[in-house]
Structures are given as structure tokens and as C-alpha cells.
Symmetry: C2
Subunit: 208 residues, 2 copies
Amino acid sequence: MKKDVTTEEKIKEAARHVFMAKGFAGCSSREISKAAGMNVALVNYYFRSKSQLFKIIFESAMEDFVTSMITVFSSDQSIESKMRVFIEREFEFLSKHPELPVFIITEMNREEGCSIDHACFFEKIAASGIFNECAQAQAEGKMRKINILSLTLLIMSNCQYPIMAKSLMQGIHGLTDEEYTSNLLLHKQNVTDMLVSYLFSVNTITIK
Amino acid sequence: MKKDVTTEEKIKEAARHVFMAKGFAGCSSREISKAAGMNVALVNYYFRSKSQLFKIIFESAMEDFVTSMITVFSSDQSIESKMRVFIEREFEFLSKHPELPVFIITEMNREEGCSIDHACFFEKIAASGIFNECAQAQAEGKMRKINILSLTLLIMSNCQYPIMAKSLMQGIHGLTDEEYTSNLLLHKQNVTDMLVSYLFSVNTITIK
DNA sequence: ATGTGTTTTAAACAAGTGTTTAAAATAGAT
DNA sequence: ATCTATTTTAAACACTTGTTTAAAACACAT
């Protein structure tokens, strides 16, 4: 028997949407099954339990998250232009999946969330060779010497936070969706300028 | 009748802890009442409902959040040193309340979360005069010309994200609590350097 | 001690939770 | 058409949820 979209995929897609929007604790199995247009029992028929289904969705979300990074790192460019492209792509990717960072951070803080092995993601990133490339650039004086955690944090902070905090910023500054989106473009440019000049010290800083 | 700590305060304190750690959806009324060492019915006796209690806790959390900012802005210093002090204080404050940013962002995304008026917080910040001060510094060429949202985002991103994403970063980089904390100190310095030099263009950037 | 108002509790309520069971519907092979 | 295995459903399971009710415990004035 064949279908355009298998039942299993229907469930996963529905679960992805619902989990992302409301979190593990914020939704019920029945809600997911309804979003997939079927009976509750089917969810457990294909994926033994709610937790099991969640684990699959979460890991695939992490996978997307990391894959989006690695594609840029593996490309063949100077490290500085990799950085520029990376920021560009990260804003683009996260605009399409705005709930992803909050989702990942929230669920990492859940007790059960720790059961998942995260180190493998670091290994994947490391395997792209980006960290060695940075170390070399730092040794050659082409790049500011900061440790890898700090580098990761600088980039992630400035790419992810502006998208995670959308509703907060809209609330505080009183902006519509469109206004926020257009402001985000300006901000992306500022972030790029700031990070590139800080890390690679392109001394074209002239203000006023 | 008098007590050292009133029942009402006991409930609020317990609710604050539990809500922060698990979110609105992630905990039950009974969990809160047990944390406060009493019967469930008492929670509803003092605060009509779980939602009502939550609203109070959330708004007080936002209050703390904003108050922590304003104290620095209202002080009597140059805008550049205000920035330095602000980052310092923000890292210190958030280290003591690490769940606060994720909590606020998560609950802002809940449907019911929108019922709360957020604009008042912006007004409070604006009332501190910090925005005018920035505008003036920008007009005088002392500060880079970027809009307020972007400025807010730059600061918040770099102060809040490193603390929100602790468990994610620990997972990825394989760090203990102590290691992360000490790395956070180094990172705070990097953030300060980067932001100050980007915004005020202190051109002492010479690498290696 | 009695009465009064407040604070606290145990118990119950209906509704919703994750999960399981057994029966029904469906598919494909003979 | 009959049999078999897979897919889907309705119904029930035991348990937790937010909230309410009525009785108990308490404090305090008289």
C-alpha cells in the first residue's frame, strides 16, 4: 500500500508544529493527533509514547540546526567571508524557523532533556574543520584571539536572540510584524559589521 | 495574627520558583502548593486561579527585569561608562536569575501572555532618559548612529543569550558548571570590548 | 466559655492526561 | 470469496488537572 504522505510522516509533521509552538509540556497527545487528522491511539501505535515522539522531533530539530551551520563552514572561502555568509544564512534560516532556538533551549533545561547526547553535535561542527581554521587564523594574526566558546557565543547571541526575542521586542517597542522584519534587516547589517570588525579588525571604523 | 512570612508570600515565593523553572504549562497548582508546604485550595483562596497567580508572578518578574536596567541608566556617568557598568550589572543580575530571560520570552509567546501590557515597560525605560542621551551622543558624533531597536538588541543579545543558553553551550562544548562560569567572565570582557568599540569607536584595536 | 470571623484542610467535582485494549476497517494474496 | 496481516478506530483504563464545597481549625473579642 502506498500514499502520497504516509501516516507516520503526517504525525511527525503535526508533532513538529505543535511541539515547536507549545513545547513538550504545553500540548497533549490528542492535540497532536487532531492536528494530524487522526485518532490518538495511532500516535502511540507508530511512536510508543509522547516522550518517544518528542525525542525524535527534538533530535531532528537539532540536526537541522547544526546542518545549517556546517554547510557554510565547509565551503571554500576566506574565514572572514565565511563569517559574513554564515550570519546571512543564519538570519535567513532562523527567520524560517523562529521557534527553533527557544524550543531547543527550553527543552535542554527540562530534566528529561538531558538524556539526549549533545556532544555529537559539537563533534559534527568540529569535523567541518572550522575550529582549526580559526586557530590557524588566530596564530597568523588574522583573527582576534578568543576562545571557541566565546566565539560561538558571540555569533549565536547576535544571530539567535534577535529572532527569539521578537515578541518581547515588539511588545517593548510597539512594532508590527512588518516593522520588526524590516528592522531586522538593518540589524543584521549592524551585527555583521560589528562582529567582522571585532574579530578581524577591519579598521574602517569612522563614525559620524 | 502575625507571622514572620505570611501565607500569601509563601505562595508567591514558591510559585516564582516553580513557574520560573518549569513554565506555566510545565507545572501544576498542587506542585506549587506543595512547594509552599500547604493545601492546594489555599492557592486559590488567596489568588483566584492558577492564571491569576501566574500573571502576578510574571509581571513582578518583568518589573525586576526592567528595574535592573533603569538603575544604571539613571546614574550620573558618561554614556560610555554607563554602557560598561550596564553590561557588568546585567551579567551579574542575570547570573542570579538565569531563568528569567527564557521565562519571559517563552511566556510572551503563549496566547494568554499577550494579554499583559508591555508598553509600560518601554515607557519606564524611556523615562530614564537613556534614549535621549543616546540620540544626543549620536548627534554629537560620540556614538555610532543606529536605531534604538538595534541598540537594544545588540545589548540584550550579548548579555542575555550567554546565560539563557548555558545548558545548550555546556552540552555542545562539554563544560562543567564551574568551567562555564569562569568562561563567562572572559566572555563578558569580550562583549564589553566589542560593544564599546563598535558603538563608541575607541580605536585601540590592534590585534596580535 | 461562647460567639465570630478568618484561615486551612480534606474531599469531591468534571474535564483532560498518557496509554492500552479489543474490535473494526482496510489491504493484498490465494 | 476467504484468509491473513496491517492499519485505524472507539472505548476504556487509571491518573492528574484546575477549581469548588463544606467542614474543620484557628485567632481573638466578649
